[in-house]
Symmetry: D2
């Protein structure tokens, strides 16, 4: 009995390159006797394959292949976060941090399907906005939850609490709460450290802080981070998950961020090495200085 | 039966302020019926108290009070690392990250002695230099193990491996391998993040890297970090622990850094808050910009 | 004949502390036989003094005293930029980079009025948005012109040209074009260098750039900086001067930033030292690390 | 009458690749009727060409071609600093900031020889160590003068004065005083800004400062920078020019750094663009983040 028999495919909508790659992968999988089902929002392809909404896909499939960029995989991972189905990321020709399989490399996919794979579970964050004891809105993030200023050229002010204790009162352009996965994304642009996916930690990375000795802070991922915003400031603050999903903010709202109890499972071909991807993506082989 | 009856005191040698504080604490402890023993290298004080070398002190005492700056406590912690005795840090008037009790505050000490305390176990690092399968030299660090250039104005080159896999080939002025405790010390001057003591992580912070996309890297503290240096470079490299202890480097030597199996136990008065010390030491209340 | 006989006063509106300081200064000036005129938007004070709009004030006065914070002085300097009148900044008790005279120190003001002063001319920037050969909007800045993202959680993209040559294509949260005066303000939060007011330079400081090797860039202040934005991005971009004044952006608009031909003249008491203010504001006397 | 008739060639000694390039260039120049003279320390090549020491070469030649890396050109520029001869940098296959002509591109050299060139004058720094009114040692730098710690794992302390006024008391691993040319070299590894060669400025870039609000400082290049070191610290401090030349430090010595009155003249082919080299060397075309 094969571990991976029923394969779902998700991909960036409206991208002809993605259509081409999905067609090739679907053909290949069909030839090896596997059943292939597409997500309902996948780009139109020639083959007449069954389609299912993401939720049903996640429930019924043994593996989801995501074709696109890191952003496509972030979106897929969040939408599959309720389920236990593993995810394999295939890029469109340009290596990603998360979509590490190149589209031409069907042997890498074969290896994974044959069970020669590296399992790589990644933490997610849950973000809630609470007001008067109710949850007003919520979201999930694989990379980061970002508090950022909105509709203003000025800095914003807010208080950060960790497990109920005041960390500090913050005056800045915002704050990135990042998972290890997100540490090579926006958090890095903000000056945050790289965090290996094995570390059970989150990073709080300030954006343009007005206090010069404020630095990125690495906390245990078991910490609860709460942020309160003064009543007159809430209109100039937004909360977003992975830069893709916005949570509505309300006056008097309190932001609560916690590690999600369940992780998402990425799978990689056996030759995958995290540090190798870092070196390739960040061009660590180069010496820049004269 | 008191938990803390036999109290050892260590302190910065040759510091009259420290002598004054030790005298006051020793008097106070004696009045409460406790026995007080000084470390043999403690500064001369008026009272004629028994003295013991650090090792015996650590074995026979229930608590060691260290009087001085953070540097004094680092030194004490390393020398007591073989033992299980808890350490209380008393400063000389200027708050430290580790010596958080102020010298005038005997009630804070009383609270700790009465068992109203916060236990705060801190990870240590073991560093070894190996050559031809033998350990050439070794050291222990509470803050950091630092690989730094020596006798040269030029950058140094070395390869870093994490759990046997290449991280990168490094061209820089050096590398700081920091514990959470060390993250507010030298690693911070190098641009590293603050790491909460509860995080089971170490940070690799490059010093003036010649590749601009190299960033501080946070790894699981269960990782083994190995560094190899090219034969012609070893004369221009030194390894130090906490900036206080130097390890001899040899040609062909391989540096191995691991978390020490045992932690050191700091104790604090009940009102101790880690974030409060960060805010005070780093002056997070100030907004610097115009 | 006195150089400074007719004194204008500007100040933060609606601030009772400012009212109190202005009253004291105005009384003092009147006693020394000088004429005092207030800006029309100055906070209500007890004394019945003549008032004039800023433009007329600038034309008719020998000196303008500005009472408030650095933000108040920024606003005043921009509104007086057409004129040659010198400006003296008085703070409300908290030292600013620009408002360096403390409110209680009337002898410092007396020294300046007696001609014992340090002249400190500061460059301004002119920013224009051009479309189809026309100037759509324009603004002036003493600190900085900031291109920032607006109403989006995502990065923005734009091309920067210096004196007609491409510098780079930028993917970031924005760009700060800063004068030396602005180098200790928002540009510093973005990681820019401090620039001494005597340097004829501007700095381009990227905000959270997605290319890790992008660094702040110091250019001759005689350079013309042009920025073009792709048509679909213009709705998510705003341009602001000193964080106080917003320029309307239009589709197809081209941003042009140049040094303003005329400088603004700040005057300081004779004991003013630029480095002393840096040390005080940035707390350079402290050593933060443990 | 040709502007560039007598051509001198300098190059990295002991480098066979450099020998090959010099041979090709010398042949090419001879065919066009120019006289070619080698520096006396140039690597052995097949052709029997006259050789002269650097000083005489600089006096008698119309142009000096330097073949090697940026380090080779730095060395050449310092040794020719007394003279007015222009310098053309040819690399060994890898683009440098200063050696921008590729070795295979003889047409670029021809263009320069025909007078189609870009003149690019670069500031140099003079560094002196003075003691008891005497100059103990001196050096010249095209990139940077670096004060760095020597043979110690600890930070060093020194006071910096600018035009006779205290800037600050510094606790760090050292200080880089950089020209615009040096701003893309070691200063950049220390977090300094890029400075365009047209800016008449120098940057003071601290190395691992123990005060977190200390930032790189850009000063007018007409400033005189003086550094004093406490008597017990001088053994742990060294001063180097361009990382290539060391100045002897003495107890009680005072370091004085000034812009050199004369500049060095680099020449480039007509298609040279400074920003293009920045983009290529720093790989600004890449977006690193996920």
């Amino acid at each position: 009995m094969q571990r991976f028999h029923r394969i779902g495919i998700l991909g960036k909508p409206d991208d002809p390159e993605v259509a081409e790659t999905i067609t090739r992968i679907a053909d290949h999988l069909a030839r090896s006797g596997r059943t292939v089902t597409l997500g309902s929002d996948v780009v139109e392809i020639a083959a007449d394959l069954p389609r299912l909404p993401r939720g049903e896909l996640a429930e019924q499939m043994d593996l989801i292949i995501v074709v696109g960029g890191d952003g496509t995989l972030l979106h897929a991972a969040r939408s599959l976060a309720e389920h236990d189905v593993p995810i394999l990321g295939v890029n469109r020709g340009r290596l990603g941090f998360l979509v590490d399989v190149s589209p031409g490399n069907l042997s890498e996919i074969d290896a994974v399907l044959a069970g020669e794979l590296i399992e790589d579970s990644r933490m997610l964050l849950d973000a809630e906005i609470q007001a008067e004891g109710e949850i007003v809105s919520r979201g999930t993030a694989l990379n980061d939850v970002v508090l950022h200023k909105w509709n203003t050229a000025r800095m914003i002010e807010f208080d950060i609490y960790v497990d109920g204790e005041l960390l500090n009162s913050h005056r800045s352009d915002g704050l990135i709460i990042s998972t290890p996965t997100g540490s090579t994304a926006y958090a890095m642009a903000g000056g945050g450290p790289i965090m290996h996916p094995d570390v059970n930690a989150i990073a709080l990375v300030p954006i343009c802080p007005h206090t010069l000795s404020i630095r990125p802070l690495v906390l245990s991922a078991d910490s609860t981070v709460e942020i309160t915003v003064s009543p007159d400031a809430f209109e100039h603050i937004r909360l977003s998950c992975d830069g893709q999903e916005d949570l509505g903010m309300v006056n008097g709202g309190r932001i609560v961020i916690r590690k999600r109890p369940h992780k998402v499972m990425l799978v990689h071909p056996p030759q995958y090495r995290y540090f190798e991807i870092l070196r390739a993506k960040l061009r660590w082989g180069d010496t820049n200085l004269g």
